[in-house]
Amino acid sequence: MSTPRTLFEKVWDNHVVVDSDPALLYVDLHLVHEVTSPQAFAGLEASGRPVRRPDLTVATVDHGIPTTGRTLGIRDPLSKKQVDALVENCRKNHITFFGIDDPRQGIVHVVGPEQGLTQPGLLIVCGDSHTSTHGAFGALAFGIGTTEVEHVLATQTIWQARPQTMAVEVEGALPWGVAAKDLILGIIAQIGVSGGTRHVIEYRGQAVRDLSMEQRMTVCNMSIEGGARAGMIAPDETTFRYVEGRPFAPKRADWDAAVAAWEGLVTDPGASFDRVEVLDAAKLVPHVSWGVNPAQTVPVTGRVPSPDSYDDPQQRDAAVRALEYMALRPGTAISDIRIDHVFLGSCTNGRIEDLRAAAKVVEGRKVDSRVNAVVVPGSMQVKAQAEAEGLADIFEDAGFSWRDAGCSSCLAMNPDVIPSGERCASTSNRNYEGRQGRGARTHLVSPAMAAAAAVSGHFVDVRDWESR
């Protein structure tokens, strides 16, 4: 009998090229976008090194591109230069590229799964921290920097210190009206924003098994917000059904061989984790962030906390600064916080199920007259599907602006910047200071919660709204 191994250990072992610490690992899929790659391609060119495996490399544009008026081109000269550089780098190096006018364009972490490129057991890297998203398929997927992007382009490998393992066991079932976003915000509240540092998390338990693929992606996406190197979920029938038939998924005999391999990608009975965290799904409620990191959240039924509620002096200072930045007073009921903007989108919550959940809340209602509400689908395919299902009409009839795909207001590198001093209910992943624009105040919520806030003009408990 071989030693029982965790899911992570199996995927890691399959990719070890040089067994040292750090180990040299083989990369199955390298996703590329316009912001973290130009210096990497320039480095390759300067050293005269070719891209080793253009066939294992896929690029798209997402971070800096506009979500309106695309036929007019990119007005920001710097963003345009970045996009043009990627177009040229992909052309020269024969890299598959979903450009701004391609129907497959979108946020890189939406596109990979949608195209069937993201598959169980792969080692996936991208110059973006939310690469952890792809772990939802039982892939080992993590973000890298630009020097590492160049390294992967040149060698198709990456050096990695062997992380520790953490199991997050979520028992029970998510209550009605509680979203995958609330689950991951609840996990981050429990482990903290650095609780996962030097760890790979495996999300386990009945509540995780019951999630759809898109919900699993929401959970794994925000693993990095808990500091983790990656998040993973063992592949199962839900995974296989999602992957099957997608453009880059294995076909015919290859499909059978792939599924046979994927079925073994589970943590063996008796395998142990370095750390175990347990959550009771039944106790989870819709969350709203009040502060400037994703652990600073409270239930929607709660109030803005007092800095005195923190024992650690550094966390207390952080809470004081967060309240000042967010212009909030301790004790304020979350439902009394008025908002100016709603952003529905991002690699966390920009998929079709997210748009469906929000549209269900919005249908037949109107966006509050003081709120600027925007939907940015995660990809042009999500956009097309939402239009086919009539969701776009629901959003537009309610007063939402319906956009083209990209990262948009999640990080405000494109023109979708939230003005200073204004408050945004956002389905994205980071509520850092200045994240959505200098001085902008971000509150992280689920898509249904964002939709309800758009209609009300302030936060409301969506459980009071949705009919069962």
Binding site: V17, V18, D21, P22, L24, Y26, D28, L29, T36, Q39, A42, S47, R49, L56, V58, G64, L78, S79, K81, Q82, I95, Q119, L122, G127, D128, S129, G143, G145, T146, T147, E148, E150, H151, T155, Q156, T157, W159, P163, V193, T197, I224, G227, P247, F248, A249, A257, Q314, D317, A318, L411, A412, M413, S420, R430, Y432, E433, G434, R435, R438, G439
Partner: protein
């Protein structure tokens, strides 16, 4: 890359936890396709008022600290985005090292590749250095070879992964080192299952 061996210099204390890379360099400065010119944007939103003038009360704007080489920061430094622009900005401002109780994983990796030394010390030792750094003239010495940090009344050992240490001490190009393993990479590649996805199509 220039070798990194010993760093001696004054410090800038930044006594905040969870400093994310959006604070280190905000998104509006990530649009350039060059690798340099980021130093002036370091901690931009904290270092500047709404009208773009320098905030006199933010520590890196203190003119007596302009020659500092070591940033002393709170725990979980560099969390968030994978942007390598963060270590570039820190380095291009003039820092050669960051001392912190803990650095975020991607930031630590990125820094290692660009020669910005990340030294993780106990919270107590960092607190001591933070106190010492109130004096802009107080110096600290970091010796990578012996993995020690020394300042007045402080002598601490730090852990450092041996592979990165060797690369930094010798100033090696990471890709060049990896390509010396070309045979085993090719062997692994040849053994990959035929059904694994390729992006051709």
């Amino acid at each position: 890359m220039r070798p990194v061996k010993t760093i001696t210099g004054t410090m800038v204390p930044l006594d905040r936890a969870d400093v994310d890379t959006d604070q280190i360099i905000p998104q509006q400065f990530l649009k350039r396709i060059e690798r340099d010119g980021y130093g002036e944007f370091l901690f931009y939103n904290w270092a500047h008022t709404d009208d773009g003038s320098p905030s006199s009360d933010f520590v890196i704007n203190d003119p007596t600290r302009r020659q500092a080489k070591v940033l002393v920061a709170g725990p979980n430094f560099g969390c968030g985005s994978s942007r390598e622009h963060a270590p570039w900005a820190i380095q291009q401002w003039g820092f050669e090292a960051v001392i912190t109780p803990s650095a975020a994983d991607i930031f630590r990796n990125n820094s290692g590749y660009v020669g910005l030394l990340i030294v993780e010390l106990s919270a107590e030792a960092v607190h001591q250095l933070m106190e010492l750094a109130r004096d802009p003239r107080a110096e600290v010495t970091i010796d990578l070879e012996t993995q020690t940090v020394a300042a007045e009344g402080i002598e601490e050992h730090f852990d450092f992964d041996p592979t990165s240490k060797d690369r930094l001490l010798r100033g090696l190009d990471g890709i060049g080192v990896t390509l010396t393993h070309g045979d085993v990479i090719a062997a692994h590649e040849a053994g990959r299952a035929s059904w694994l996805p390729t992006a051709v199509g």
